[in-house]
């Protein structure tokens, strides 16, 4: 449908912007420094957010604390063998009949060791078959300590659907995938992808809603449970 609205809208915008607007937000940023620093130091905007520790141990602890608040189940695994047994234990606990997954280094062994039917989403698959799966097992791009988030993309988590359709999402990640804040997570994206991914999502806890009397209910439309198997570096 051809139309000239693009030019019309841009013309209106340019006309409107010919008069400058006052920059009111600047009033409070002058003469006020970051605690412990001089007023003239430029602090990156993320510096005002909840603080993030520097050490890997501190980041891990913060991620685990946030996960606890979010009701994400984080289980530490010492090595690859521990991942296999931890995933098998999850399958048994939750009586999984079938799982969805994709091919990724940290998960291949553990998923095939389950001995369950697997719907692989990194090859053509049927949505209905994935919908019947009891769990989706995926990798991720990175983990975000500040928010307790997990960054997934199509490439790292078996497409757009695997991490949201099955009622239980299990992420297998390495502790060295931990980053501080969202800005660090964007750096990871820039390093691993030539162009921005067509799909990326920060998953911060199991799906939830408060739409009925503002009472928290888990598993609104997405997974009711979220488990992170964290392999120690």
């Amino acid at each position: 449908m051809p139309n000239d609205s693009r030019e019309k809208i841009l013309r209106r915008i340019r006309e409107a912007l010919s008069v400058k607007a006052p920059a009111r937000h600047l009033v409070h940023t002058e003469n006020r420094g970051h605690p412990g620093e001089t007023g003239s130091t430029i602090v990156p905007a993320t510096g005002w957010l909840p603080p993030v520790p520097d050490s890997p141990i501190g980041l891990l602890a913060l991620f685990e604390k946030n996960s606890l608040d979010l009701k994400t189940d984080v289980r530490r695994c010492t090595d690859a063998a521990a991942v296999v047994s931890e995933l098998a234990a999850l399958a048994l606990e939750n009586r999984w009949q079938s799982v969805g997954s994709h091919h990724f280094a940290l998960g291949n062994e553990a998923v095939s060791a389950l001995g369950l039917p697997v719907v692989f989403t990194d090859q053509p698959y049927e949505t209905a078959a994935l919908e019947r799966c009891d769990a989706g097992v995926s990798g991720c791009e990175c983990l975000v300590a500040q928010t307790g988030g997990i960054l997934v993309t199509s490439a790292s988590a078996g497409g757009r659907v695997l991490s949201v359709l099955p009622p239980h999402h299990v992420v297998i990640a390495s502790a060295c995938q931990m980053v501080g804040d969202l800005s660090d997570a964007f750096d990871v994206l820039r390093k691993t992808h030539e162009s921005p991914p067509s799909f990326a999502s920060f998953i911060t806890g199991p799906s939830r809603t408060g739409d009925i009397e503002r009472i928290l209910v888990l598993g609104a439309h997405g997974p009711k449970k979220l488990t992170v198997l964290l392999v120690q570096a």
Binding site: N3, L49, G149, S154, L182, F186, D211, R214
Partner: protein, 467 residues
């Protein structure tokens, strides 16, 4: 008075006296205040974070042409069809034509206030398409044939009992007692809808110019399912949603969650940069982004109130507004309720028809304090009042003020009037609010303090005499 104003006063009057409604809203918001304050306390400096967020939006809105073009070009480069819509009708017509062209029958919609603004669901239903809201709160109000009550919490005015009734009547579901059971009923219904839908419709919380991605914030996972399962996806994006850099989201996403719902970060924050790419196995094969003006440019043309376009639709100003808490979301009769709605609706839909919203404010400034991007909301309400009066003066105001000024310049008259007022006070008390009270519009809902035994002038004279 405009018909909108008459309706507003009628609804507001009814709900202000509805104590059950007030208790419900206060209970819902009480939980929000606690969680919001808990999260805000974790920030290194919330006020500085606000300034940073405001700076990002200021940069975007004041260079809107550049960033919009960058955003649209980057999106288009990876196979997304970008459509610029000057008004709602153009947007609706385009989306309907996309649906026709792709042989769409069923549509699943995730929450979009911009879609509400242009009455998109209603228009598509009229075109013979099935449109289902997937956000739980929106789904509930859709079943009840009501507009959303609040831009973030669409069903906060309903109790579980009322929702249970609605589900039993409209879905034929069994009686449910708890929010959890009710949520699971909706989940079951919706699962089938996602898989059967041909088209998904979503909004966008942010549009990232640097990378050509839209960003969608949600908790339920309905937006993720609606944007990844159907073969066609349409996102409707107000032109003011653009932000320059991906890193701007590193501040805006946590702040949106904290201000909007008292969360550290909402459950899903999704970036979409195109349809299914070569080598990918799922996601829509067609992706359309509709950039909507719909008079946003006239708000942009007002430099005094331009920062109202910084709004990230978190709803924080609604949650703290004494007016909203008393009259409720539906009384506004607008897509956007609360202080932000009162500020922008006159720009989007006509000042004279919607000026009454700006007059219905205590100007307490709680909205400005709560706003994560520091929109000067209460001053904008005042400016709307000024602009409305300048455009269409009220004939009796000028003579009244002139008379008052003349009176105040004559101390003799003033001295004479004070004792007379004291004599008249019992009469005023007796007739206060009655049908024959000439100023009952004012006195009907206000107390008149008893007249003091002596005026200040008399007190001062006596005090000095004693010395």
């Amino acid at each position: 008075m405009s018909t909108e104003s008459v309706q507003f006063h009628h609804d507001a009057d009814r709900l202000t006296h509805d104590l059950r409604h007030r208790a419900l809203i206060q209970k819902a918001l009480g939980g929000y205040y606690l969680k919001r304050d808990e999260q805000k306390a974790k920030y290194t400096d919330w006020q500085q974070a606000r300034a940073s967020a405001a700076a990002a939006k200021y940069e975007a809105v004041n260079h809107l042409d550049e960033y919009l073009v960058e955003f649209a070009d980057k999106l288009a480069a990876r196979g997304t069809k970008v459509f610029w819509a000057a008004d709602g009708a153009e947007a609706v017509e385009y989306i309907a034509s996309v649906a026709r062209g792709a042989d769409v029958k069923r549509i699943i919609k995730s929450k979009t206030m911009t879609g509400e603004e242009i009455h998109l669901p209603q228009a598509l239903e009229k075109a013979g398409l099935e449109v289902v809201e997937s956000d739980l709160g929106e789904f509930i109000v859709q079943l009840r044939d009501e507009p959303p009550y609040h831009i973030v919490f669409p069903s906060m005015h309903l109790t579980r009992g009322e929702i249970d009734d609605t589900f039993q009547k409209k879905l034929g579901s069994a009686h449910a007692n708890t929010p959890e059971e009710l949520t699971m009923i909706a989940r079951g219904v919706m699962r089938q809808k996602y898989c059967a839908a041909d088209m998904g419709i979503c909004g966008a919380n942010f549009a990232v110019a640097e990378t050509g991605q839209i960003s969608i914030t949600e908790n339920e996972g309905n937006a993720r399912l609606s944007t990844s399962l159907p073969r066609v996806l349409v996102s409707i994006v107000g032109i003011e949603k653009v932000v320059p850099k991906l890193d701007d989201l590193a501040v805006l996403l946590p702040m949106l969650a904290t201000a909007g719902a008292g969360q550290n970060m909402t459950c899903y924050n999704t970036l979409l940069g195109g349809p299914r790419q070569p080598g990918e196995t799922d996601g829509p094969t067609e992706f359309h982004v509709v950039l909507l003006d719909n008079r946003r440019t006239s708000l942009l043309a007002d430099p005094e109130q331009r920062d109202a376009l910084h709004c990230i639709r978190c709803g924080a100003c609604l949650n703290v507004c004494p007016i909203f808490k008393n009259i409720g979301g539906h009384s506004y009769g607008t897509t956007y309720q609360g202080p932000i709605g009162s500020v922008i609706t006159p720009h989007l839909r006509g000042l004279q028809s919607w000026k009454h919203l700006s007059f219905s404010s205590s100007l307490c400034g709680a909205c400005h304090e709560a706003c994560p991007v520091k929109i000067d909301l209460h001053h904008h309400l005042l400016q709307n009042r000024r602009n409305a009066i300048a455009e269409k003066p009220v004939w009796w105001e000028k003579p009244i003020f002139a008379g008052f000024a003349w009176f105040m310049r004559h101390p003799a008259l003033y001295r004479l009037a004070a004792p007379m007022l004291r004599l008249g006070a019992p009469v005023l008390h007796a007739i206060r609010g009655k049908s024959f009270d000439p100023v009952r519009m004012w006195t009907g809902t206000r107390d008149l303090p008893p007249a003091p035994p002596r005026s200040f002038k008399e007190y001062w004279r006596d005090r000095n005499a004693k010395r």
